[in-house]
Amino acid sequence: MAATVLTLIARRLLAAIPILLIVSALLFCVLRALPVDPAAMSLPPNATIAEIEAKRREMGLDRPLPEQYVIWLRGALRGDFGHSIQFRRAAGALVAATLPATIQLAVAAMVLAGILGLGGGLLLFRVRGTVLEPVADLLSILLLSIPEFLWGLILLFVFGVALRVLPFTGEVAPDLPVPHLTGFILLDSLTIGRFDIFVSACQHLILPAAALGLAFSPTIMRILRSSLFDVYHEDYIQQARLRGLSERHVLLGHALKNASLPTLTLAGVQFGILFSGTLLVEVIYSYPGMGNLMVDAVRNADLPLIQAIGLTYCIVVLLINTAVDSLYVVLNPKLRVR
């Protein structure tokens, strides 16, 4: 069983490679087609034409596009994504420095979205056929209308500005030092035994994570509800009732277990989207993750950095999708038997 799952994961990862190659090639072509000259940008404004030409040659910009791509790809495989024009540092190092903060935010948001989605889905299902159903239904559409961008601003307004109970800028209070071990500030602060940093980081994480979690929970709610509807038509539900089980036991013990499978697959796709949703939330809360770095790079047309970050987002989303697929097989006994 473990072996089959492993082969499956391996196969999925192999299938992702051609997609990644095409994605990186597309990214490369789009960014090279821009009316921006990376050579001229990486030199001081008073550089002569000859100097720019020399820099172009040095950066390989005078070669044909396919050759440039192969050079870039060879570097990328060794973890060398070129140098950021504005920061004058390796683009790969910049991404590596900000990725942990983004992952931390995404994981917190996913947990929250999962909990809210599960609770909300069960609630939506429980009110079926009652007077509350249209109300709950309308409410879920209303919630579905609020994207993470708006949630971020609404929460910032309510808890940060109006009630002033939570901080809404940065990842930790400005007077506290940021420990640099793994980059995951929650983990690092505990490792060095600084509880004050840990608490402050948690407080700073609440609003951004809640904004993302709230934005993605309605989809999970609605998927779970319709899966529960489907499952309730099955014979074993009737059987469980005939055995005298309480409605609560039927729902939580039997229906939920089977409804959670389709929910997981459909919600899994959402988690990939959620990860890229961190970008906006980071910008709103000035959270020092990859999203803010990306916006910074985009504003300054920092091509090598845009390329490195864009590719990182794609890789993470592909990995999440692969993980969800594999989890589906692990959890689904029907697929396990072959």
């Binding site: 095409i22 087609a33 559409i141 209308s145 601003l153 910032l156 987002y313």
Partner: protein, 285 residues
């Protein structure tokens, strides 16, 4: 087709949504007549004034002013114009590209279907936010660029969903009958397949309108949207975010405007889905 259309118009969801959209659209169309000030008109002597009903408010600026002394109400109204233009044209473009490819893909199948399918796969492995940001770097700012970016990102939504619908419709006997009657492929698609996929298409468009409004707001918020000279809700939010303690209203009002517009389009989509989808409508859900 008269049946579902009438049924849709009787649905309270659709009616409420259409009323809301009509309201926002008339703000957009008659912005010049309704707005008390020009959208770019600055009054540096009246910066960040609160709304007229609060302490320190000025009746000249009913909803207050922003950090450059521009009238918030007027900018909200002109912002509706920007939002509505994007909400109308972007889904239209995405629908045209997406549905043409979906019909070709689902109807002909085979190699064409495979190629289009892989294209969609590759496209969708780019997270939408990232892809639109990268496109905006290349396209530059401006309302037409925002529309183009949304079209280039979101045609896949239409293509993927419609393709499976086309696949189902194409298997029906009446499509084969049309071919036997001597219809060309083109005629069969336009006269037999398209009418059957139209309800889904309309629903998708209304949902895409909501998405377009949000994407425009996001791009303008990040500063890569319609450009500084064009008033947009996202820009107002970005400006208000910096002065959030001095004038919280400036943040709240454009958020509310976006929320209202997005809810209206989503409600329309939901109402249309319930009334236009024959299977759903018959089940009474």
């Amino acid at each position: 087709m008269a049946g579902p259309a009438v049924r849709s118009l009787r649905s309270p969801r659709v009616l409420i949504a259409l009323t809301m959209i009509a309201g926002i659209a008339s703000c957009a169309v008659f912005a010049g007549a309704i707005a008390p000030h020009g959208p770019g008109e600055q009054n540096l002597l009246a910066i960040l004034t609160p709304p007229a009903w609060t302490v320190g408010g000025d009746s000249n600026y009913p909803l207050g002013t922003d950090s450059l002394g521009r009238d918030v109400l007027s900018r909200l109204i002109y912002g509706a114009r920007t939002a509505m233009i994007v909400a109308f044209f972007a889904p239209l473009g995405a629908m045209i590209i997406g549905s043409i490819l979906a019909h070709i893909s689902g109807y002909f199948g085979g190699v064409v279907d495979w190629i289009i399918g892989r294209m969609v796969d590759v496209w969708m492995s780019f997270p939408p936010v990232i892809l639109s940001l990268i496109l905006m770097v290349g396209l530059g700012v401006g309302i037409s660029k925002v529309i183009l970016a949304i079209v280039l990102v979101d045609w896949t939504r239409f293509c993927r969903v419609l393709r499976s619908e086309v696949l189902i419709v194409t298997r029906h006997d009446y499509v084969a009958a049309a071919r036997l009657l001597g219809f060309t492929h083109w005629q069969t698609i336009v006269r037999e397949v398209l009418p059957a996929t139209l309800p889904l298409l309309i629903t998708l468009v209304s949902v895409e309108m909501a998405i377009a409004v949000v994407v425009e707001a996001i791009l303008s918020f990040v500063g890569l949207g319609v450009g500084a000279d064009q008033p947009a809700w996202g820009q107002m939010i970005a400006d208000a975010r910096q002065y959030v303690y001095q004038s919280p209203w400036n943040l709240l009002l454009p958020i509310f405007a976006i929320f209202l517009t997005v809810t209206a389009f989503n409600l329309l989509g939901d109402g249309l889905r319930r009334t236009l989808d024959v299977r759903l409508a018959e089940a009474g859900r």
